[in-house]
Symmetry: C2
Subunit: 419 residues, 2 copies
């Protein structure tokens, strides 16, 4: 049985638990020294392979790898870089093969979201189309929770927990001040095309009247009149109103409410600034004193309040990806399957990559209330188990102890990459 | 020895630990049933006294009061309401005496910041000026940490911890993405006139090059050229730049960078929107891809990651306030004194209210680096012990269990208040 190296890389926006998947990949690979040589991690995702910047994870101690489980960010560097098609840029694929050959890489594990699944799928096709034997496995992660064929995505549960807790906490603040001060609070959260993150804020409420009073989903066309009327009604009934808004909130014609007219490397609009926009709308039409917050990166880096379920699943998926590789699988992604029954239980499944790449799973309509401003009981039942458990990091002098790796690069064997 | 009731109220912006002071006040009062009758809490601060909305805390269980120690917001409602001077509105003071008399209130404990200290001072003068015997004690709290004569203020340590952790976490995110994505991240934090909160973000850094790379203080006049040059330099050296900006950042002529032209009930400008302003500055002049976050209420409500030191001090000050009242003190505020020596140790002191009210303690210049963008070693040594320890709340189904009180109002005995 040949012994080949495993390439692992992180792609797209990072999450509080992507490093937990990385740790599991490395730990599982180390359990199979006869089949897997070294785990070489790409510095900055797929760019690490193209530029032959390969981090030798065998230089990292057992303790450091274990520490990754409790460290946010992307320990090896991530990237927003989309491989073109074979037809458009064959040279890129030839370059990958050159680097893979030079470093005896037989396993390609890519840890990312929908766009990254596309990259992974393209790599998986190298074997077939270009005759180089490689197995490509996608390790899912995305705080957006928008990958199809998996019940949920690692990263989401922790962001959901952060957003639900932050909503509950901020609501207590506003409630105690609303008699003489702020009446409307708007929290903008991530979610370009799907309202999963905003939806999770519904867990902040346990009794009628609890915040959030209004959730804005990308799935529901924004109607200013209905929105303002609901805000006004909440202030009248409860004395204050808490709004949680997805950055991707759009009008009926599909235009983003807060389009800044800029796009990222994947052609996505770069969002932000919805909260102040909604606040000025409230001020102008209703005259209420407002406050707003934009959580931005804080929400997807908040490892200090990660969900234990999320961490467990990130680890399980990293482990499953290596096991799938050892079983000879290719073009596949391990998934989370929710078992039927009242008690939440889950197991690892698998989905073919061609059915995953470039597809987005939105919030089902049955998870959103009839008026479009809240989450139904079915939706809350979906969300709740994903935020269960507190996976606290260790602390040192009041601050979380996050792991930094040595990141020793493997000596280069190829000529520099020319783009 | 006469037995009189104790009035307690919360004032101004709430904190993650103001309820811990409330719990301590109530618990300590309950230990002295011969001297103190009931603790009557003002609903919405001093308004509760004026409107005779008095919450009977004796209806709350021991467990509920204990639960307040782990609950953010202001459990009895807070307010932004400033008493006018005797000369301007004597009727207000007469009303207070009417309510105090009707409910046998002999102790007035007011839990707030600088403006509230002024209110408390005015109440303390009722004894003298209007012949009604009452002792007024101010229980300090403010996330702004700007009260004089106390080493620090309850509420600040927890916000400092939240901001330092959030900065470290977001920085790991940006660092892992900066090769192909965001280069500049701006976090806007609270702090109208003093940079304590922004300064605490310095604890995120342990090694040279660590974030935050730039801190903007209200104490240092903003210079756009120097700022942009520093941002550019950081991106060149580290690949990315993390900026933590106080909302009160101002130009040399004292104009707020992000003045929205609105004021609160105390005449303070209502701030917000500095982060997007700085981001657009960076974009326009340097062209870097940016992200920004505005923590707003999330920072001062984040009980989920409160500092244990902060909680301990909030409790100690609540207890000390009742003890001072029992000793016959008036017009006084218990304080935190830092004991000399390398190891952090503190004790309770006291300061006369006329030396506290309406004074703001800014960051001393020696805590700010020469270039005005960082915190010195002396500053970090000041901040560090204040964030020590993690005072986690209890959790239930993934969410923190925060206490809600019954808030039973005492039957009214006076005619309604006419403003």
């Amino acid at each position: 049985m040949t012994r080949r190296n495993l390439f692992y890389a992180q792609s797209g926006g990072v999450t509080p638990v992507i490093n937990a998947s990385a740790a599991a990949v490395i730990q599982t690979a180390r359990e199979h020294p006869k089949r897997i040589g070294k785990v070489l991690a790409g510095q900055n995702g797929i760019l690490g392979a193209l530029q032959e910047n390969l981090i030798d994870t065998s230089c990292e101690t057992k303790g450091s790898i274990e520490g990754l489980i409790r460290t946010p960010g992307g320990a090896f560097g991530s990237c927003r870089y989309k491989l073109k098609s074979f037809a458009e840029n064959q040279a890129e694929y030839e370059r990958l093969i050159t680097v893979f050959k030079a470093h005896n890489i037989g396993y390609f594990l890519y840890n990312g979201g929908g766009d990254s699944a596309d990259t992974c799928l393209k790599v998986s096709q190298i074997s077939e189309q270009m005759g180089y034997p490689i197995q490509a496995i996608h390790v899912p992660k995305t705080i957006d929770n928008d990958l199809p064929l998996t019940d949920n995505c690692p990263g989401f549960g922790s962001v959901a927990k952060y957003v639900a807790i932050s909503t509950r906490e901020a609501a207590l603040d506003i409630e105690s001040m609303c008699a003489t001060s702020t009446k409307v609070f708007i929290l903008e959260v991530m979610g370009r095309h799907a309202g999963w993150i905003a939806g999770a804020s519904s867990l902040a409420a346990t009794e009628r009247g609890d915040a959030p009073h209004i959730i804005l989903f990308p799935e529901i066309a924004f109607d200013q009149t209905k929105f303002l009327s609901k805000v006004s009604d909440c202030v009248k009934r409860f004395g204050y109103c808490v709004v949680v808004a997805s950055e991707g909130t759009s009008t009926a014609d599909g235009r983003l409410l807060a389009d800044q007219g800029e796009t990222d490397a994947f052609g996505h609009a770069q969002l932000g600034g919805l909260a102040p926009l909604l606040a000025s709308m409230v001020k102008e039409h209703l005259g209420f004193k407002y406050h707003w917050a934009v959580a931005d990166y804080l929400q997807r880096a908040a490892r200090h309040i990660a969900s234990q379920t999320d961490v467990d699943q990130a680890i399980a998926l990293g482990r499953a990806a290596v096991e799938l590789a050892l079983e000879g699988a290719n073009a596949i992604m391990p998934t989370i399957e929710r078992k039927p029954g009242k008690q939440y239980r889950w197991r690892i499944g698998a989905a073919p990559l061609h059915r995953v790449a470039n597809r987005e799973k939105k919030m089902p309509r049955r998870f959103i209330s009839k008026d479009g401003f809240a989450v139904t009981a079915a939706g809350k039942a979906y969300f709740e188990p994903l935020i269960a458990g507190e996976a606290y990091p260790d602390y040192h002098r009041g601050m979380p102890r996050y792991t930094r790796l040595k990141k020793v690069l493997v000596p280069k064997r190829c000529i520099p990459w020319q783009t």
